[in-house]
Symmetry: C2
Subunit: 369 residues, 2 copies
Amino acid sequence: MAPQPDEVGKRAAGVEDDAALAESPPVKRRIDRPVGRVRIEDVAAEAGVSMKTVSRVLNDEPNVSEATRERVRAVVERLQYRPHPSARVLAGRRSYLVAMLYDNPSSNYLMEVELGVLDACQAQHYNLMLAPLEYDAKDIVAKVEALVLQSRLDGVVLTPPITDDAALLARLDELGIPWSSISAREPNRRVGVVVDERSAVAEMIAHLAGLGHRRIAHIKGHPAHGASEWRLAGYLDGLERAGIGLDPALVVEGGFSYESGFDATNRLLDLPEPPTAIFAANDDMAAGAIGAICERGMSVPKHVSVCGFDDTPIARHIYPALTTVRQPTRDMGRLAGLELLREIRERGQGSLVTVPYTLQLRRSTGPKP
Amino acid sequence: MAPQPDEVGKRAAGVEDDAALAESPPVKRRIDRPVGRVRIEDVAAEAGVSMKTVSRVLNDEPNVSEATRERVRAVVERLQYRPHPSARVLAGRRSYLVAMLYDNPSSNYLMEVELGVLDACQAQHYNLMLAPLEYDAKDIVAKVEALVLQSRLDGVVLTPPITDDAALLARLDELGIPWSSISAREPNRRVGVVVDERSAVAEMIAHLAGLGHRRIAHIKGHPAHGASEWRLAGYLDGLERAGIGLDPALVVEGGFSYESGFDATNRLLDLPEPPTAIFAANDDMAAGAIGAICERGMSVPKHVSVCGFDDTPIARHIYPALTTVRQPTRDMGRLAGLELLREIRERGQGSLVTVPYTLQLRRSTGPKP
DNA sequence: GTGAAAGCGCTAACAT
DNA sequence: ATGTTAGCGCTTTCAC
């Protein structure tokens, strides 16, 4: 019924089959077996070695002479042989599967990170499973545990704020599951990737101070994210270095969403002495700030300068284009993936990588009015 | 070295092992075997049936009495048994793996679609593999073929413009690989999902005409996408219904990017008789239009009304918020996934689903100046 | 309606 | 440096 390539050749069997092949309908046999249906024993027979030797070559294991290695590789290439993933998993002790754990699915940030992790996995012939999770610390440990065990994960990549759930990390360690985190709140002694967000923000504040601004406000990020702390700390550093005293009224709560930035800005603009510049802890909130400012008939950066953090696509797509801090999101995903795989292969060898940021100066910041 | 849960219980062996279990270190055995390490034969032994019967129950196959079925289910539940995915794949003829093929990775649209497809797959215990592809018709067929064969895909979900590559579709059919498409250019006789984009756009034009606009421009989408054709057709329909003659100068090329919308709008505004309203074929281009208009010191919708298509997050995050057509992107992904799985299970049973659109009227459209 | 045996394609452990 | 054997945990086939 199903128009599938049929099942001829399902058993080409051992070495002695070369003879059998010469009989009956040999041509049909070859033709009907789609590429990829070649098995390790076909390669072994063709190369005149045992299956195990082929296996060694494929997995870069020692104890194969360079000559044999080359010969096997050539046959693999010629036969277009690709190992059956499930057979490898079933026979071996690894699943060649890692998962990326995340909350807040529809963000540009995560899409970029995901692409990076995928790059890393593909390069090393690992599979990536996506695990969107609702982050409510209650049952997250149980959920992740179920996932890890059912899917036999070899490791996980964690994204904020899941990076900071102590109970989860402890459980992963107990289970012996390697993990790698992106922008963890306490990155020390971890495997993963971070950006020096604090310095980045301090530089951004210096930029604003250089434009003459003295009343610089900050819209904080979501309290569950370590990034919110770092960005606040950078803001304070920046003020101090510019010799600007902190006005607590200029530091307001946000939550990383457009709406929270919009609302926070309205509160700031209602102040008796409103700010002339606003640093929002991410781009979405900065977009909200611009929306609120425009809605009052004011304009950016003429009346108020605005800047953000992340350099997501929205930064270039709003008017005026947003001054922001760029983190190399996709690279971060890739590096987090690579370090995880290293940790999987050689326990204890994964490390913490710090990647550089860059200030993207665009049109949303200008001289103090 | 690795702190892994150890390997005790790796061979509980046949039914007769119940006896063995009662001896030696039985408690240790239970404790050390993590959840998920229960095997089908454990379930069989516990339920007093054969492995095959358990298998039948798990796969909803016939020829099991309701009583037995219930008993097995209870044991499965109690033992928290989960079949080993790789073992199923290796033994069976299915891979339980489908891939989503896409180009243009970092779009909100695709992220939403992906979540929908993932929903469908998870609900049916299928795995989803992501296949970002560079769409240059040259070697795409070979690339996809390699992917399909190597990964033993059971099917693929196609997104625009990969949906419209005739050579690819033909090859997939030859290989007997089911596929499901989202917004294919020629959806007839296909499995997948579509929106009546043409009618949606016609309605949008009616909205603009109702606000008094007569000079309504259209920025076209990327020519490789069927959506561009539909949206243009809807624009023409809308004009005709409103009794507005077509001015070819008001229809300009775009390419779905912010920049293309920005440039196109500058061309439109330079016209001797510029438009008072612009319908851009997607939200990114509409954002570009707003950017270009603002840059000239004009404002939206006071001087020019702007509307888009898709209702991606950017529509709410720019100022003014964008009037646009909302397509239920995530649902579309989910439905495309479900239809694909149906097609996989029962050839010929997958179908084409049409999902509804809605007009999102926001602040970027207003009365003709 | 149910079960026993034979693989699926690969790797681990143990030869040699 | 290389080969042999025995599974991994499930489904298939075919017998009952």
